[in-house]
């Protein structure tokens, strides 16, 4: 079952840890939606099994399911005064 997950690495993780998780996600055909190297987090679409494996990694701080709330970019019209 596919789901959207937030993966947060431990604060003391390094770039190698980040790349290791990235490689695991790619090898398991997970779709990385958002990621931040400096923030050590990912938002991915993956299956339950992959999420369970990642959750057991010692460099992972938190894995949780997330949902994207409908977000609209508002449009503000301002009339230009002469």
């Amino acid at each position: 079952m596919q789901g959207t997950y937030l993966i947060k690495l431990r604060d003391d993780s390094n770039e190698a840890d980040f790349m290791r998780v990235t490689g695991f996600l790619q090898s398991n055909k997970a779709q990385i939606i958002m990621a931040s190297r400096h923030g050590n987090w990912f938002i991915v679409v993956a299956n339950q099994q992959s999420a369970d494996v990642i959750k057991k990694m010692h460099i992972v701080k938190c894995v949780g399911g997330v949902t994207f709330r409908k977000r609209e970019v508002r449009i503000i019209r301002s009339k230009k005064h002469q």
Partner: protein, 218 residues
């Protein structure tokens, strides 16, 4: 003998089974909720850099209504992923099925073995013996004025006859009775739960109210 199947059925702790299943599900639900709360906290801690999120588009229009130019209104402060619109997913157990199956096999095997035998035998025997004895003797004697000569002989015959008869009768009877009771019971229990996402609690995710700065005339 009482029916052991009913006794086994009575010994199955259905109430305890349901109670433990409910407690296990409650523990699981608590763990799921705590994980969602931890995810919400993590989402709140993760900040997006200032100027990385488009909050609004500002369109400046002319008097005739045509668009003069468009500006983007970016976040001036770090914006959390939670405020950005990524919210934790909450799950709940919507359905639980306890499938308990058991098989009881009870059997009684009775065995009766009886055997008898008879042996009859008549033994008879006859015997006969005969013994003959012959004997003889002679003598001469001289005596004064008297002369005698003599002899003697003997014959002896001994006969014996006998018979015996034995009737032999042997009778044996063996009887064996046994009853073997067998009871085998096996059970299988399966717990099936359905886990579905549920809406986040009302206060779990803050409501985002976007108030762009007032766009002034250029």
């Amino acid at each position: 003998m009482a029916d052991p199947v009913n006794a086994i059925v009575k010994e199955i702790p259905f109430a305890e089974l349901v109670r433990k299943a409910a407690l296990a599900i409650a523990d699981g639900q608590t763990a799921l909720d705590m994980n969602s709360v931890q995810t919400a906290q993590t989402l709140a801690d993760i900040k997006l850099d200032p100027g990385s999120v488009i909050l609004a588009l500002v369109e400046y229009t002319k008097e005739d209504g045509s668009i003069d130019r468009v500006e983007t209104l970016m976040n001036e402060q770090p914006l959390s992923l939670l405020a950005y619109g990524v919210v934790p997913t909450f799950y709940e157990f919507t359905e639980t099925v306890i499938d308990l199956r058991f098989w009881v096999h009870f059997w009684v095997r009775s065995t009766h073995v009886e055997s008898s035998s008879e042996f009859n035998k008549t033994l008879s025997s006859k015997w006969e013996t005969s013994r003959k004895t012959y004997g003889g003797g002679g003598g001469l004697s001289l005596n004064l004025g008297f002369f005698s000569i003599g002899g003697g002989g003997g014959y002896k015959k001994t006969e014996a006859k006998g018979s015996y008869e034995v009737d032999l009768h042997v009778s044996s009877h063996t009887a064996y009775d046994s009853q073997v009771y067998g009871l085998s019971a096996s059970a299988a229990c399966r717990l099936t739960t359905t886990l579905k996402p549920k809406p986040a609690p009302d206060r779990a995710v803050p409501q985002i109210i976007t108030k762009p700065v007032a766009a002034g005339p250029s």
